[in-house]
């Protein structure tokens, strides 16, 4: 069955430091992969997505993610974190047939001043 795993429940980084959030997927074919961000009490905002082609994907707010088929991973990165990046981050995959999103459990990012 299709699944998404985010190994890190909670991550704390200092403002200005680099960030990497991990995501692993389980799917036979090439999955469609997404990263969403959710601020407290808000809906989900799409950061970036991967369907095919270049494995390094650029998103909004300075985020990027790299698809690595050999590792079944789609990790999210940002070179320099801002205090406003503190939020919940969800990795998700979608079935090619139905469009149904399967979410990981989420990673809470805390940013220290």
């Amino acid at each position: 069955a299709q699944s998404v795993t985010q190994p890190d429940i909670h991550i704390t980084v200092s403002e200005g430091a680099s960030l990497e959030l991990r995501c692993n997927y389980s799917y036979g074919a090439t999955p469609y992969l997404f990263w969403y961000v959710q601020s407290p009490g808000q809906g989900l905002q799409l950061l970036l997505k991967y369907f095919s082609g270049d494995t390094l994907v650029q998103g909004i707010k300075g985020f990027e993610a790299e698809f690595k088929r050999s590792q079944s991973s789609f990790n999210l990165r940002k070179p320099s974190v801002h205090w406003s990046d503190a939020a919940e981050y969800f990795c998700a995959s979608a079935s090619g047939n139905t469009g149904k999103l399967i979410f990981g459990q989420g990673t809470t990012l805390q940013v220290k001043p």
């Binding site: 469609y32 997404f34 969403y36 009490g41 808000q42 809906g43 989900l44 905002q45 799409l46 997505k49 369907f51 969800f90 979608a94 079935s95 090619g96 047939n97 139905t98 469009g99 149904k100 999103l101 979410f103 990981g104 459990q105 989420g106």
Partner: protein, 115 residues
């Protein structure tokens, strides 16, 4: 400009008292989704409409129903809310079901409290 709008943002209901949550969209998208997100958990798909075709997830309780009277609006009805139904309910839309390539756009959510 708001694209996916959910009303109300916060809803309080009593145990067993029916409640309806509303979602509207200005994107003219064919697909509308309802997700349930409990505290500190990932969103879970309840059902979706592709145009007027309703698609229920296998594990969605019968207590949850939905209506889509037109392209722009979709409603989530909870017939007899229980304490376990307290959650954030997220509405999302996508242009089509062309594989999984169509991005889903989420509304801000409705936080449901059951007393």
């Amino acid at each position: 400009d708001a694209m996916v709008i959910q009303n109300p943002r916060y809803q309080v209901t009593q145990f067993g008292k029916p409640v309806t949550l509303s979602c509207s969209q200005t994107l003219n998208h064919n697909v509308m989704y309802w997700y349930q997100q409990k505290s500190s958990q990932a969103p879970k798909l309840l059902f979706h409409y592709y145009d007027k075709d309703f698609n229920n997830e296998a594990d969605t309780p019968d207590n949850f129903q939905s209506r889509r009277p037109n392209t722009s609006f979709c409603f989530l009805d909870i017939r007899s809310p229980g304490l376990g139904d307290a959650a954030m309910y997220l509405c999302a839309t996508s242009r089509d079901l062309a594989g999984a390539k169509d991005t889903q756009y989420f509304g801000p959510g409705t936080r449901l409290t059951v007393l």
